[in-house]
Symmetry: C2
Subunit: 214 residues, 2 copies
DNA sequence: TACAACATACATTCATGTATGTTTGCTGTC
DNA sequence: GACAGCAAACATACATGAATGTATGTTGTA
């Protein structure tokens, strides 16, 4: 996978090479975690996926749980930023803007396997019990923060008079999260069999089309 | 938990007692599975929760995966039946009927810990990899069947003229499933902290008030 | 008394964590 | 600029524990 390092059996790496090893380990971990689930994933398999041994794993990380957390650390922020980047542009209709945003997000997943696997991992393949428990609250808090950003956005739009008067930003945010998470959950169950290209516009449209009327 | 059998160390059971042991094992499994996740659950803990040893487990079941499947077998049908029982009564407005149904379903979960744990287990605590893989398609098929029942129901209502002309039964069914699953997913993450009493009516109402018309 | 319904004991596997070995990049020194 | 020598960045080897599956023992019931 990321196996080829240089040539010999083992050579000391430069700092950049070491950083690459760490990245490869994280990428491999995403792959293995999303396939077998965090609990059933082994450090040996993660190491092999990165073309190294468990020695490298224990050099860069403390244990599996910390790899898991490091993954969340490295994936969450870019993901959230990517979303709100789309919301910063001016748009006459926030509901329409949200609709476009979510459809694009789902469709983009088709060609972003890493992100797809990461979402699978955090949504379906970890249960935050045992050694992952310490990170549960932490990760949940991050998610609530990004949810708050949506609510802030809708509040801003409401004050700007761009939102229907009967719309409720908090309720809309919560409902939207439930709905989108539901779609994601189904899609990620079997991405190959799920026709996201067709269903994302349908379902997201279904959600926002009538909200726009209100 | 279900520890007290009779008195001595071990006595051969009658058939009814053996059946009870099996039931106790399943109940204990729900508990353990929903807490630690299927992967991290051990047969020893399940046995202890039922007041027996692993000997009893291997007498009644082949392995952990089969317990998992037996649980699905015993929980799915009653759950689905319970839902559609509510839909068989006559009601002037199907959308309103669905709204009441879902709200009731969520609220009832508050006092039905077993069902709550079972849903947690199948929705959040199993990933159908490894030894559970053989059951994935099987369980998924059952879910699709019950989804089809909803669609059938809406189709019937449409033909009876009880549904808005612009409503799309298939899309409404899919959207509804995503939305409700999203709520369930959030609720089951931390049932104690989630104010389902308040949010279930809010969110379900939000969904059907406007989306239901289409 | 044979067998159902378990308990107990044992062998095996598998993943983890750690201890130790190995190679080279890098740093200071002369 | 050559040359130690330390330590970074791993690989390898080993010890440990935990869970599984199975084999065997036990008891009361039908």
């Amino acid at each position: 996978m990321f196996a080829v390092k240089r040539k010999g059996k083992f050579m000391k790496r430069t700092k950049e090479e070491a950083e690459k090893t760490r990245d490869d380990l994280l990428k491999s971990a995403i792959q293995v975690f999303s396939e077998k689930g965090v609990a059933r994933a082994t450090l040996d398999e993660i190491a092999k996926g990165a073309g190294v041994t468990r020695g490298a794993v224990y050099w860069h990380f403390d244990n599996k749980a910390q790899i898991f957390d490091a993954l969340h650390e490295s994936m969450h922020r870019p993901f959230v930023d990517g979303i709100f980047e789309g919301l910063e542009k001016e748009h006459p209709n926030p509901i329409e803007q949200l609709r476009e945003l979510w459809v694009k997000l789902f469709l983009d997943l088709q060609e972003d396997e890493i992100r797809r696997q990461a979402l699978t991992l955090f949504l379906r393949k970890c249960n935050y019990s045992g050694d992952l428990a310490p990170y549960k609250e932490q990760h949940r808090k991050k998610q609530e923060e990004s949810m708050q950003l949506f609510e802030d956005y809708l509040n801003k739009m409401e004050k700007a008079g761009k939102l229907s008067t009967e719309a409720n930003p908090k309720l809309l945010t919560e409902g939207m999260f439930c709905f989108m998470k539901g779609i994601l959950f189904e899609y990620l169950d079997e991405p190959e069999k799920y026709n996201i290209q067709k269903k994302a516009p349908e379902l997201v449209g279904f959600f926002f089309n009538c909200l726009g009327q209100r």
